[in-house]
């Protein structure tokens, strides 16, 4: 991974990304927002774990309903 890619990934904070990932379940994010999230996830394992947790919870609620 290049330094530029790393820098881009850290332009947005984990807190902002957590909001965007949650919001993405309700609405389509803008191209810029999606790009920022993608860049960030590429360099941040913690937010990747969080993203997985969100998907897990969605699946859990789906099973709960069935």
């Amino acid at each position: 991974m290049t330094i530029i890619q790393r820098l881009l990934g850290h332009l947005v904070s984990c807190e902002d990304v957590s909001h965007l990932l949650s919001q993405a379940e309700e609405t389509r994010l803008s191209v810029l927002e999606r790009t920022r999230v993608r860049w960030h996830l590429a360099v941040c394992g913690m937010c990747r774990a969080f993203d997985k947790q969100l998907r897990f919870m969605r699946e859990a609620m789906r099973r709960y309903r069935e």
């Binding site: 904070s13 984990c14 807190e15 902002d16 957590s18 909001h19 949650s22 919001q23 379940e25 309700e26 609405t27 913690m46 937010c47 774990a49 969080f50 997985k52 947790q53 969100l54 897990f56 919870m57 969605r58 699946e59 859990a60 609620m61 099973r63 709960y64 309903r65 069935e66």
Partner: protein, 190 residues
Amino acid sequence: MNPEVLKELETQRGYLLRVARLQLRDAALAEDVVQDTLAAALTAQASFSGKSSVKTWLTGILKHKIVDAIRKRQREPVAASALDDEADLEDFEGLFRDNGAWQAPPADWGDPEEALNRRQFFDILETCLDKLPPKTTRVFVMREVMELESDEICKELAITANNLWVILYRARMSLRECLELNWFAGRPRG
């Protein structure tokens, strides 16, 4: 009267009651709403196409009954104050450092199937949902269990899309913290 439908209604009663309680936070009202739902289902059973499951069909009816009950309650001035925002953003300040980095990194929850195959997990999930502030649970259950569209929820509860996102965000952050503490902590990861 189709005896199979009747039996199925009885089977689903517990589930409907749990969903109604989570949303209304009022055991007596939840009981009424479920009673109404089952009565409506009996009257309308001819309209049950059999294309969806009985559970889905009943959940659809329950959805309308709950929305009606919430609307009715919102018109009552005393109850209206109970709908005020109780979830404070401050509760969440501890989640991130000043620079926006995670205070406590989210853990790897391992193989989801392992948890999702256990009845116990869903008990914990329910307890966690129950611990959320009432309005937060209501919105979250409307979205994730009843599968109402975002704009539908906004309309019913008279909140903005932005409000909705914030409430759902809080719900998800609290739920993940609760699950992490009460289910995933100390579990070996596969």
